[in-house]
Structures are given as structure tokens and as C-alpha cells.
């Protein structure tokens, strides 16, 4: 196992470099112009000068090399400086956003709290709801509980968050006036009262997002549980006199987890990527909003950096999923 992990980690390095190159080429091939949001009143000559100031005139390979150096060499130095109060990175050019003319990493760090609070929490909530419901639905297939569960989760998945988000805002903020419709990113939790405010402003975006997660994971959980409940080994286990709880929750669940783990691992990086539409609807302004804003403004350094960090997480979590498969089912071998 250890050799498998280290081999995979080694392969990850060239994989990630190829991915970063592909992303870079894709972004440069896409029709884009960082001046797209500049008002039409600004004359073309001025726009051209602004483009040059952003370094757009340089050949592509130089732009890519610059980004590589900035991201892999200078940004870690900044991090070390931050940790140990050293000054390795002084005066060195970091990855700079074209929109804000400030380091991309600083903005990402600034946006981590609300992203993790809202998107991360919704994910945890979604998983915690989905798995038990999925198990019970499968165990009591076609019971009233299963039918209602299926109905609600499928509707939850088929109505997009741009609708559910606005719907809950109209009900809970406009009609009832219970919850704020705009997320306050400057709010800091220091005591019980501020914690309650934080809960209030989180509740709607978290639930809207959790609805999607729940629906997805619940469907896979139910389906694979059903598959396994009909397997011969279940009959054998029951015949051996194991308790129903042990049969279902240990044997069946363990064998059913593989697709569910895959789905969960696939979507964990998405927490970091944020939830573009939901963030927009509730003005959470997390990393998802940063990414989509940068895409609209054609702020390539920001898009490149965020998508690349996203890629790192994807590679890592898929590796993690592969490791967990081996633990869940020892017959799976990778050598």
C-alpha cells in the first residue's frame, strides 16, 4: 500500500504540471479580454496600454513560466515568511490578479472562512442526512418512507439553486422577515449572540446547497444498498445467525460504500471551489464567486490559480478514494 501511495504521489507531479499547462492553454485560447468590463467610453488606445501594463503582450511560454515560478517558488516563500516571520519573498512578484492588482492568494485566504462555513457545512449536513435516509430507504424498499424520500430528493435535485435560493429568500426574508437575505462576510463570531447571528445567516445557503448534496448521495447510497441486500452473502450471514443490525450496518453497508465514497471524494474539492450560484444568490462572496467573477472579467491569473488549486485537490481526493477502496474491500489491489 505504501509503495502504491508514494508511486501515485510521484505520478501526481507530472500530471498536475500537464493539467496546469492545459488549463493555461485553454484560458488563452478562449476568447477573452481583460478589458471587456471597461466602459465603452474608454478609447481603444488606452485599453491597449492597459493590456500592455498587465503583461499581455509577452509570448505565451513566458507568461506560463512566470506563473509557474510565481506559484511554485514565490508563493511558498510568502507562506514561510508568514509562518516564521522571515523575509524570503521580499520584493518578489507574486501571482497578481488583473482585477484587483493584488496577490491572488491573499484574496483566496480572505475568502476561505465563508466558503468553509457555508459550503463545507452544507456538505457535512448533506452527507449526514443522505446516508441514513439512503440506508433506511433501501432496507424498506417501496415503503412510504422510501417513496417520500425519493420524491423529495429527486425534486430537490431537479430544481436548480437559482430557483430554490430565491424561493427561500422570498419566504423567509421578505414574507416572514426571519432571516437575512444577504450574508455578512465581516461578521465575526465571538460569543453566543454573534454565533446565533452567524447561524441565522448560514441557514438558508447551507440548506439550499445541502439539498443538492443530499439528493445525489442519497440516490447512490440507496441503489448500492439495494444491490448488496440481494447478494448471496447476506443470506449466508443471516443464516449464520448474525443479528440484523450487524448484517445491514456492517456487512452490507461496508460493501455499499464504494460508489458513495467515490461520489463524496469527487465533490469534496467542490467545497473549495465554492458554490457559484448559491454564493451569488446569498452574496456569500466565497471562492466560487471569486472564480466566476474572475472568469467574467477575464482575470486569467486568478482563474488559473484557483482552477489549479482545485486540480490539486481533485487529484489528492481521488487518490484518497482509491486508498479507501482498498480498505473497504481488501480484494482490490493496485500493484
Amino acid at each position: 500500500m505504501l509503495s502504491f501511495i508514494s508511486r501515485r504521489l510521484l505520478i501526481s507531479i507530472p500530471t498536475l504540471i500537464v493539467i496546469s499547462l492545459v488549463i493555461f492553454l485553454l484560458l488563452n485560447l478562449a476568447p477573452n479580454d481583460p478589458m471587456a468590463q471597461v466602459p465603452l467610453t474608454v478609447p481603444p488606445e488606452v485599453k491597449q496600454k492597459m493590456r500592455e501594463a498587465l503583461g499581455l503582450g509577452q509570448p505565451l511560454y513566458i507568461q506560463f513560466l512566470k506563473w509557474l515560478i510565481q506559484f511554485f517558488w514565490i508563493e511558498p516563500q510568502v507562506f514561510i515568511d508568514y509562518l516564521f516571520d522571515t523575509s524570503f519573498s521580499e520584493g518578489k512578484q507574486r501571482v497578481i490578479s488583473w482585477q484587483t492588482r493584488s496577490p491572488v492568494m491573499d484574496i483566496i485566504v480572505q475568502r476561505m472562512p465563508q466558503t468553509l462555513w457555508v459550503v463545507g457545512m452544507s456538505y457535512v449536513v448533506g452527507i449526514l442526512i443522505a446516508i441514513p435516509i439512503g440506508i433506511y430507504s433501501a432496507y424498506k424498499q417501496y415503503s412510504v418512507f422510501d417513496q417520500v424520500g425519493t420524491f423529495v430528493t429527486m425534486i430537490g435535485y431537479s430544481v436548480p439553486p437559482f430557483f430554490t435560493g430565491v424561493f427561500v429568500i422570498v419566504i423567509f426574508s421578505v414574507q416572514l422577515g426571519w432571516l437575512p437575505s444577504i450574508y455578512d462576510t465581516t461578521h465575526s463570531v465571538v460569543d453566543w449572540e454573534t454565533f446565533k447571528i452567524q447561524l441565522k445567516q448560514m441557514v438558508m445557503p447551507v440548506m439550499v446547497l445541502a439539498l443538492q448534496t443530499t439528493a445525489m448521495i442519497n440516490r447512490f447510497m440507496r441503489a448500492t444498498m439495494l444491490d448488496n441486500l440481494n447478494q448471496d452473502y447476506v443470506r449466508t450471514a443471516r443464516a449464520k445467525g448474525l443479528s440484523e443490525w450487524t448484517v445491514v450496518m456492517v456487512h452490507v453497508l461496508r460493501n455499499s460504500m464504494i460508489p458513495v465514497i467515490t461520489v463524496i471524494a469527487l465533490n469534496v474539492p467542490a467545497i473549495f471551489g465554492g458554490a457559484i450560484i448559491t454564493e451569488q444568490v446569498f452574496k456569500v462572496n466565497g471562492i466560487g464567486q471569486q472564480l466566476i467573477g474572475a472568469i467574467y472579467a477575464n482575470d486569467l491569473p486568478t482563474v488559473q490559480t484557483i482552477t489549479f488549486m482545485f486540480a490539486v485537490l481533485i487529484v489528492l481526493f481521488n487518490l484518497l478514494a482509491d486508498i479507501i477502496y482498498g480498505i473497504l474491500d481488501p480484494r482490490i489491489r493496485y500493484d
Binding site: 479580454d33 496600454k49 482585477q99 492588482r101 480572505q110 437575512p180 444577504i182 462576510t185 465581516t186 451569488q280
Partner: protein, 565 residues
Amino acid sequence: MKIKSLFVGLAAVLIATASFAGRGSDGNVSIIYWQAPSILNPYLSSGTKDIESSSMIIEPLGRYTETGALVPYLAEEIPTVENGGVSSDLMSITWKLKKGLKWSDGSAVTSADVKFTADYCMHPEGGCAQLAKFDGVTSVSTPDERTIVVKFSAPKPNPYGPFMGGQSPIIQKKQFENCMGAKAPNCTDANFGPIGTGPFVVTEFKPNDVIQMKANDNYRDPNKPAFATVTFKGGGDATAAGRSVLETGEFDYAWNLQLAPEVIANMEKAGKGIAIAGFGPLVERLEMNLTDPSPDLDANTRATRKAPHPFLTDINVRKALSMAIDRTLLVEIGYGKAGDVTCDLVPAPDLYAAKNDYCMKQDIAGANALLESAGWKKGSDGIRAKDGVKLSILYQTSTNAVRQDFQALIKDWWQQIGVETELRNLNASVFFGGDPGSPDTFQKFYADVEMYANTFDGTDPQNYLSMYRCGNEPKPESQWQGENINRYCDPAYDALLDELSATGDLKKRGEIGIKLNNMLTKDSYTIVPLVHRGRVSAHAKSLGGVVLNTWDSELWNVADWYRIK
């Protein structure tokens, strides 16, 4: 209920008579812009959101008022030829700073800061977004602490480019001294928290998210601003911004509510706030392509002056297309009180407005007759054609709910005059971007007709009208950059433009401006204006002092805002 409303009414009267209790006495005011500010230095970004948010912190020498008049801010008065501030040959302008001005850090504002501002923007490597404001400036000199003389290379009938309006505020020399040219992006702290003379100073700036501000202790009026702190939130969409002011009351002021009129009217019913409208020179228009965008042509000929358009070069076709449009209905459906029917490219200010009315009424029968007499006969499919050329139009615009409604309506009207229309909508960041590699930019104009809105800064339309000069069209040789979108070319128009740039007399300028406007619209139907668009913003009923200004930053008088108690 009655007692309460009586009390509110009484309070309003009291406020109207008694003015402010003093600086910082009204607590917090919260503003929402659905586009979030990304930087507080308008010289590095010309987005409206950036210019307007920074206008609360840094100020120019003078601003435009809500009527388009000029009003001094940091200057003692607006220099004119009459008061001797502008030289009679129109080659220089002399500004004088108010006495005793202080930066928010307590140091004095001097003419050196003003000169530095010009140097900062005119630095060749800086990529200054407001460079056009400094067009033609040869030198900026400072004879004394409070006097600034700006010299131009040619007579400037409108010398109010530099240091005037939200686009050109004064920045502090001390703070930005080491941020010139290529070093500009390294000055994150300065760009995110400029030291200014405005009513507020930044306490925290989260780019593309939120700004926290507090009252400036050194603001020149000791009683202002009435608010101690400001929360300036950005992001989301116009609907949500409107809702947060008009329906839930979470915010006090929402900017630019581009929403269907009935949506705004419905939100207002909640009783928490008021929608206000103001008009600048913004016009939603159809641009006619005078060149052939056919994909069969090679890349160096397609949509260039080498290939004239097969049917849009016929003025009768352009005129008929304009006649078929019911502009009153467009306004009613798309803009409500934030729009007016217009037949002009320059609908404001009054001096330059032609106030034409040739297009006010829809005339489908007239349009049909015109096409018929011009030889465009209906075929069996109901589409008019002449000499094998069919009136078949590709009509493109950016993605936006109102624009798509307009497209559907106009397609329907054109159908009625025997013109076939294919609609296309494009992502705004591609359509308005200038990527020469993309076929979908508005400059490249690979379509027959396109629709968008444009405007000009300040109150002088000279540069705006100069866009339609012959040779200024986007073309392959200029990497498809250029502002003459229609590829319009008329020597008489160019001659008149030259006359305009040499004329100082305002009345004369107005007359020439109107002539130029008519050449593009009424006389040639090259540009078919649709709607004179205003701006709708909303404020809470408890927020007083708001004066919506479309000629300058909307937050131009934020120092005068107060809480109605």
C-alpha cells in the same frame, strides 16, 4: 397606526428644518452595489463600481451636479474663460485649491499632489485607465502651494478633462510616490485604502466583496458626514440588491436596478424604500452594419469597408427598419420610468440635444410602402427581396433579459414588413471584449444589426461624436480595435467634426453637435436610437439627502446623506 404615521410625518418636517446634529451622529449607512468593487484606485480600473466606491474617499477638484452643471469640490471655483481661469486661446487652465484642505492623515493638500496625480496617470508604463482624461496635456505646473496650471498642446474647448469628475480624483503624492508605472500593482495597500479628502476613510477592504469605512476626522466640513460608518457590500444581482433595500430593509441604498419596471413597482409596494431615476446621455440603440458580414468572405474583407453591405447600404431599408419599431412599447416593457423614447444619439445635455421626433410613432404601413417603392418585393415566403438579395438579418446583442425581450419584439415587427430575422445573444464578457481572435465581439460586428448602449463621460460629446470619423472603424489592420462600429464614412461629417474641435463658443458648439447627431440618425439611419436610458437606484425611506446624479459618481454627495429619524 395613525399616531405612528403622524409621528413619522412630524419627524420628517423636523428634519427638513433642523439640519444635522453633527459628524458621525447617525450611526451606520449600508450601501449595496450588485457589482463588487475590486480596487479603490480609479486610475487602475475604470469600472463604474470602482469609480463610485472610491468617490467616497478621494475627490476631484470639481464635479458635475445632477443637472450637469460644474461645481467646485477641492477647487475654490470652476475656472472659465469669463473668470480668467481658462486662457482666451483655450490652451491652458488654472485651478486654485481651497484654503486649509487636509488629507485624512492630517497632512496638507498641496498643488504638488495635484501635479503628482497627473504624472501618475501619464506615466508611460502605468496603463492608466483614465489616460483619455489627460489627452493633449503638455505640462502641469505649480506656481505656488495652491495653484495648478495645466497646458494643452492644442486649443481645448472643453478643458475639464483632468481633475474633474469621478474618473479623475486627486491622490496623495506621499502615498503613491513609489507606485508609479510598472510598480503600480505592488502598492496593494495604497490601492485598497487610498488616503483622500472625501467624507470617509477605508477601515477594511475585501476586494470584490465588501468595504468598511468610517467618517474622515479631517473632512473639510466639521458637521459632515452625518454617518459614522459605512458598509459597502458588493456582489449578487440587481434583483437581490433591490429586494434588500425595498423589501427587507437590510440595506439603505442600492445602485443601478436594471430590472423590469413592474418588478421594481412590486418591490416598492413593500413600503421600505423608494426607487429614484436619473437621466444621463445613455442610449440603447441599433447599429446598422454598412459592410458585409457574410462568412463566405475571407477574413481580411469580411465586415470591412472593402465589402459594402448587400442591402443595409440602401437608406430606404434602414429607414423602414426604424419606422417599424414601436419605441413607446419598448420603453414600457423594458425600462418604465427609467427610460424615454429617443430619436437621438446625444439626448442630453440640453445644449447638445436635437430633440428629434421623427421616430416617435411606429409606422408599419409606411415602412411597407417605402420598401415596396424602393423595389423590395415580397416573395412567396413573405420575405422581401430585390435582384436576388433577400432582406434577411442576423441581429445580435449581449445576454440580458430586457435585450432578449427587445429582440423578440423587433423581430416580430420586422416580420410584418417582410424582413426575416435570426437572433443571436452573446456572453457580455465576450461581446464587449476586444479579443481580435473572437468572431463575437461587437467591434468585429459579424452580424447585420447589433444592439447595445453607449454614453459619454461628463457633459461634452465631442469625443463621443468623433468615434464615427472615417478611418476609425475596427479593421484587421488595427487588430479590430476602433470605435466607428457601423463603418460610417462621410467627408462632410469629418469636416464638421474638425470645426467642432476648433469652436469654443458654447452656443455654436451646441449647433454643430446637433448637426452631427442628425447626420448619424435622422438623415442616414446609420444609428437607430431606441431608448434614452436612465438609471434607477433605490434608497430606504429613512435615508435623507440622496440626489441621484448620472453625470458624475452616484455617491457624489454622500457627505450630505443623513438618517431621517
